[in-house]
Amino acid sequence: MNTLTRDGLRKLVGEWMAAGKICVGPVRVKPGTVLFARLTSPEELLLDGWVRPANSIKELLLPRNETLYGYRVEKNRIELLDPPETIPEQIAICAHPCDAAALPILDKVFNWDFRDEAYNRRREATTVITLVCAEHDEECFCTSVGLAPDATGGSDAMLYDLGDGQFAVSSLTEKGRAILGEAEAHGGHASAPPVRFDPKQIARFAVDRFADPFWQAHSLACVGCGACAYTCPVCHCFDIVDEGNGREGVRARNWDACQFSLFTLHASGHNPRHAQGDRQRQRIYHKFHVYPEKFGETLCTGCGNCARNCPVGLGVLPLITEIPHAEPV
């Protein structure tokens, strides 16, 4: 199947849903808000024109709240209860290339040395169908971090909007072929944002000017809400907490964010990153220096969600464009 009409795609989605697969795609959850959300009907899927959901598909692999295991206490005996072994198959539909590109990046964090089976089980159960971006907005900067509006990394299949109510389909992996069949069509228009900076320059600035007043000065507006990290396709920091009481409950993994003041607070009261500027620097430093040093890639896919969702106009691109000598290259 080399092309699909919009209705044809909806019909397929309906079949997948009927087969018990969890289908996730851009949904207008309320006026003015589009999220990647679990579809309750194929009609909810937004297929008209370019939309940038406020969240990312990382939620399929790293849910905001995930039970690592349960516990039950009987006097001084404790029983640990495994979460369900099988994860239902889930399909992300109309992911952006910057969402899909996050998956191979996250794979590395969750598999270096220690393998994180909770993550890997969800990853294995996830199929990603990516829609090539035919438009971009002013927050987009995928081309600055080595990606493109038609980048295929992390995708199992690509859809190209042919503009006449039809998509060209290209199946890239076994998972893609399993649901869309053999397909190798391309076409349509890909809209690339201009290159805004060189990530190596940003890394150099973050390393050389680690203690620079720049970080404090440019994060005075930050309210530490963590929206940047929560909507980021690759931010993966988490907390582990007990949810329950002394008799029974679960040990859960919840999203966390480096912008929170408690994130690095020691029991002694010492906090290595006590000012918001230290935390903003950490976010840039991790994405452009720590991760590339460890894994050879930038921990940023240029989606622009951090800036779109920031209540005070910060985010990776707005902060980076304030860096001296980080003008367009």
């Binding site: 690592l68 295991y69 516990y71 206490v73 001084n76 005996r77 404790i78 640990l80 495994d82 072994e85 964090v109 969750f110 270096w112 040395d113 220690f114 393998r115 994180d116 089976e117 909770a118 089980r121 390393v207 680690f210 203690a211 993966h236 920091c237 988490f238 907390d239 582990i240 907490v241 007990d242 329950g244 009481n245 002394g246 008799r247 409950g249 040990r251 993994r253 966390d256 480096c258 994130f263 690095t264 607070l265 020691h266 029991a267 002694s268 010492h270 290595p272 990153r273 950490q282 430093y285 991790h286 220096h289 720590v290 040093e293 460890k294």
Partner: protein, 277 residues
């Protein structure tokens, strides 16, 4: 399928109260096979947990030669440690580990050992002291300088006396001025000052310095004056952790993940890292 975060269940086989807010707990694996196969290096840490309260990170403060149990030591300061404070013999707690890079005790062979500790920093030094004493022929003179704010804040005091009985071991205890009791027989002063007064040559020694940042800051220049090379001076960082396995993203000091590449570092390594700890 192996669950990275699922802890070993441990039976509490001993609880010791050191001060009004510090206890150490001894644990034995419930699973006999796991107990047999379990090994660690002194300096490594574990994630210990009280079910219903959560997990917390502590050094494994027993010697790696002790095969029948492990120990950890904590101060009661928060939700998890409040719960651990209530634990009694026979209770069950969780343990994940061992994690991180321990002390390179093989590289330390043939050298004198200088242990400098302040307050609650004794546990991660204590494991190395016992290890050295149990492998006594491998190491030269052992010097321990341990201080706390007051006499009541010193931990493992009975063991300090025991170490001092070993040949070629010098143990100096000190308390901050004003922290002494009428019958205090140790020194009065801060660890760096007391250590300098003792005039211990550090040129052929490995030093382990753990304590509050101000103690470490003032001890390093003394060690330099005593001839220590910063590549022979070690510490253990205490950055907050959740996963312990390089995933949760909070313990990095600069580009270094403390949970994986630490917690043990030489000061030469620390000097190359940005102030992020």
């Amino acid at each position: 399928m192996q669950n990275l975060y699922k802890p070993d269940l441990m039976e509490v086989v001993g609880v010791k109260k050191h001060t009004s807010d510090v206890k150490s707990i001894s644990l034995r694996f419930q699973d006999a096979e796991r107990a047999r196969e379990f090994t660690f290096r002194v300096g490594q840490f574990g994630i210990f947990s009280a079910f219903g309260a959560g997990e917390s990170t502590f050094n494994i403060c027993s010697s790696s030669n002790w095969r029948d149990h492990i120990e950890f030591c904590f101060r009661k300061v928060g939700r998890v440690t409040e719960a651990l404070w209530q634990v009694e013999e026979g209770d069950t707690v969780g343990f994940r580990g061992p994690y991180g890079r321990g002390y390179p005790v093989e590289e330390w062979r043939g050298k004198d050992l200088i242990f400098l500790g302040g307050g609650i920093a004794m546990p991660p030094i204590r494991c190395a002291i016992w290890y050295a004493l149990e492998n006594r022929a491998d190491y030269g003179k052992i010097t321990v300088v341990y201080g706390a704010r007051t006499v009541g804040d010193l931990v493992f005091v009975d063991e300090l006396a025991e170490w001092a009985k070993h040949p070629n071991v010098q143990v100096i205890q000190c308390v901050d001025p004003g922290g002494q009791t009428p019958d205090w027989s140790g020194e009065i002063g801060f660890v760096p000052t007391v250590f300098e007064r003792a005039q211990v040559p550090a040129g052929h020694a490995v030093s382990l310095v753990i304590g509050p940042p101000i103690m470490i800051k003032n001890t390093i220049p003394v060690l330099e004056r005593m001839g220590a090379r910063m590549s022979d001076v070690y510490t253990s960082l205490e950055n907050r952790m959740k996963c312990g396995v390089g995933k949760c993203g909070r313990c990095n000091a600069g580009p270094v993940y403390v949970c994986k590449e630490g917690p043990v570092f030489t000061f030469q390594e620390l000097q190359a890292m940005p102030m992020d700890y």
